[in-house]
């Protein structure tokens, strides 16, 4: 429901002319919007920024010869960075503050009357309705709260990227990752969510580096290559795969391994059928180079990332379905001095 609504909204907004005000007016998306406190961060409160002043923009302050009395210099002095601290440090501070604020708010709401009503709707909405709670309204309100928090996160993200477009949000890089974070960390637990998000984001950035670098002496490079090779073999050499499946089938029949027989049987049928359909030709015709060899550049590191996250989720679901930190139920104690109340 939520996802489809979001998708509708995205498509509608991508037709909105007001949102096509990037560097080129025809491009969808927003760019070069002002960033909060950027002037203050690089120029400090003493220096005026503007057309009349000696500094026309924050970037000039940053590259100024004489260090200005600005927060970015203070931070860089504390951390011994040499250069003025980049703007992302300020953004990180803003992000951490917002995480803390949202955390405190949500923890408070979780044990409030509304929090337990939402939980009861999660558990059994029929019964919650029979105890007098309008399911639709409550769900809508919680959706609104969640969307507000997501909106806040979106603002921070947009500041970090300094330009946004609708194509930045693809399900495999956003929805899927958020989902993975809460499955791994533990649903219905704020701490678990933060830990899960950290695991996922660390994996993300490690792999983004690996993808960009993509050189043979990196860890997992060989693995990725092997996976690629197996895949190429599967799609391009179907008769070989069929023979392999037949061999497996024989082994299964000899040793009476029911599961293996089943697997190999279906494998044989599927691959024999596709091979017959393809007429023995190679399936990846379009990916072959002039010598008839199949090439895939960059040893598919991007897929290894998704593969790893996926298997992490699978293992987490299988062996630790509640996540790293499970939900903590609310246990209010009996108030004392009940009579006078």
């Amino acid at each position: 429901m939520t996802i489809s609504l979001g998708e509708i909204l995205r498509l509608l907004l991508s037709a909105e002319p007001l949102l096509r005000t990037g560097p080129t007016a025809s491009a969808i998306g927003l760019g070069s919007y002002p960033l909060p406190l950027k002037d203050w961060w690089f120029c400090g409160s003493q220096v005026e920024v503007g057309p009349g002043s000696s500094f026309t923009s924050a970037n000039e302050c940053r590259s100024s010869e004489i260090p200005l009395d600005s927060p970015s210099i203070w931070i860089s002095d504390i951390l011994n960075m040499g250069d003025p601290a980049p703007y992302s440090v300020l953004l990180a501070l803003i992000c951490i503050t917002s995480v803390i604020i949202v955390w405190l708010l949500l923890n408070r709401v979780l044990t409030s009357p509304w929090g337990r009503i939402l939980k009861s709707i999660r558990e059994d909405e029929d019964v919650a309705q029979h105890h007098g709670h309008d399911v639709l309204r409550n769900k809508a309100a919680s959706l609104a709260l969640g969307a507000a928090i997501a909106g806040l996160a979106g603002i921070l993200w947009a500041w970090k990227l300094t330009g946004i477009g609708p194509s930045f949000m693809s399900p495999s890089s956003t929805t899927f990752l958020v989902w993975a974070a809460f499955i791994i960390g533990g649903a219905a637990n704020n701490r678990g969510m933060v830990i899960g998000a950290m695991i996922i984001i660390l994996m993300e950035s490690v792999f983004n580096v690996l993808v960009v670098a993509s050189s043979p002496d990196l860890p997992l490079y060989d693995t990725a290559n092997q996976v690629d090779k197996v895949f190429i073999w599967l799609v391009s050499e179907q008769w070989e795969v069929t023979k392999f499946c037949l061999a497996l089938l024989t082994i299964g029949l000899v040793f009476r391994l029911g599961k293996l027989v089943e697997f190999a049987f279906w494998g044989t049928i599927v691959f024999a059928f596709t091979a017959w359909m393809m007429n023995g030709e190679r399936a990846l015709q379009s990916a072959t180079n002039y010598a008839g060899e199949i090439t895939i550049s960059g040893a598919g590191m991007a897929y290894v990332k998704l593969l790893l996250i996926g298997s992490l989720m699978l293992f987490s679901l299988k062996y630790n379905p509640k996540g790293l930190l499970p939900e903590v139920p609310h246990r209010p104690t009996r108030p004392n001095g009940g009579e006078d109340a």
């Binding site: 044990t111 009503i117 059994d124 709670h133």
Partner: protein, 278 residues
């Protein structure tokens, strides 16, 4: 005495199967009424139609003089009706005490400000947040939340399960779940309580006590209770005012426990085996 529940010619079909066929009865305020009948005669289906879970095929249902056609279960609950389900349906990943704290009415207050306040000021003790021995913020206790909590613990005391208050309801035994379900239905301050086999699986002495408590509740607060129960001992001897006997989707007879005991048809249709056990 006013009529609280009026069911007239209620009919409910599931596909071709007629589960309830022209059932009519009335419940007055402050009445403790039993509903009995053999398995599959349509008792639970009648409940489901009254509470708004199922849409009736035809007939009229009025609660407090208001027609409830097109009303959703939450609206009907707000009118003052609470029901329990035959198969106990507690919120399983919540504690017993949390389960009891969901039904109370008007938990958010009326004004917008009250609603916001209910999100953040629900502590039952005065909270003092401070650094190095100084108070920065003091959040006063929330009286209404405290009262709800006190009431919930009192009900658990009555039902003899206060030691389970902090367990998840998925950890309860079958009988304990039934008890918590009864407790939960009382938390919503109902004026009309529909209980579907509330003491099935509850040990004899405690079941007796629950019947007595219900009787007292009716006497003291004037609520009306309609209770489905298969145990004839309880229904005939434990202070029920009136009994409605259903059979094969219709009402067979209505009357006091004595009248029901003396009715041959009832004995044949229903009491047959259980009657001999007495």
């Amino acid at each position: 005495m006013t009529t609280i529940l009026k069911v007239k010619d209620l009919r409910k079909e599931f596909g071709g199967l007629v589960a309830v066929d022209s059932v009519s009865f009335e419940i007055q305020s402050g009445e403790f009424v039993g509903l009995i009948g053999p398995n599959g005669c349509g008792k639970s289906t009648t409940f489901n139609c009254i509470s708004g879970l199922l849409e009736k095929t035809s007939g009229e249902i009025e609660i407090f003089g208001q027609d409830i056609t097109d009303k959703t279960p939450d609206k009907i609950q707000k009118m003052g009706l609470t029901r329990t389900f035959q198969h106990t349906r507690l919120w399983r990943r919540m504690t017993v005490i949390e389960n009891l704290l969901v039904p109370p009415r008007n938990q958010f207050g009326n004004t917008f400000f009250d609603k916001i306040k209910s999100l953040f000021r629900h502590n039952i003790k005065k909270l003092e947040i401070g650094l190095f021995g100084t108070n920065i913020i003091t959040i006063p206790e929330n009286k209404s939340e405290k009262n709800r909590l006190i009431k919930a613990f009192d009900i658990l005391d009555q039902l003899e399960v206060p030691h389970m208050a902090h367990n998840l309801t998925s950890e309860l035994s079958g009988g304990q779940s039934k008890l918590v379900d009864i407790g939960r239905s009382m938390m919503g301050d109902p004026k009309l309580l529909l209980l579907d086999e509330p003491v099935a699986g509850v040990a004899g002495p405690l079941a007796l006590k629950i019947f007595n408590n219900l009787r007292n509740l009716v006497n003291e607060t004037g609520v009306s209770v309609l209770i489905i129960e298969h145990n004839m001992d309880f229904i005939l001897r434990q202070g029920v005012d009136r009994i409605i006997v259903m059979n094969e989707g219709g009402v067979l007879m209505e009357g006091t426990p004595d009248e029901v005991r003396g009715n041959r048809e009832v004995i044949e249709a229903y009491l047959g085996s259980t009657g001999e056990e007495e």
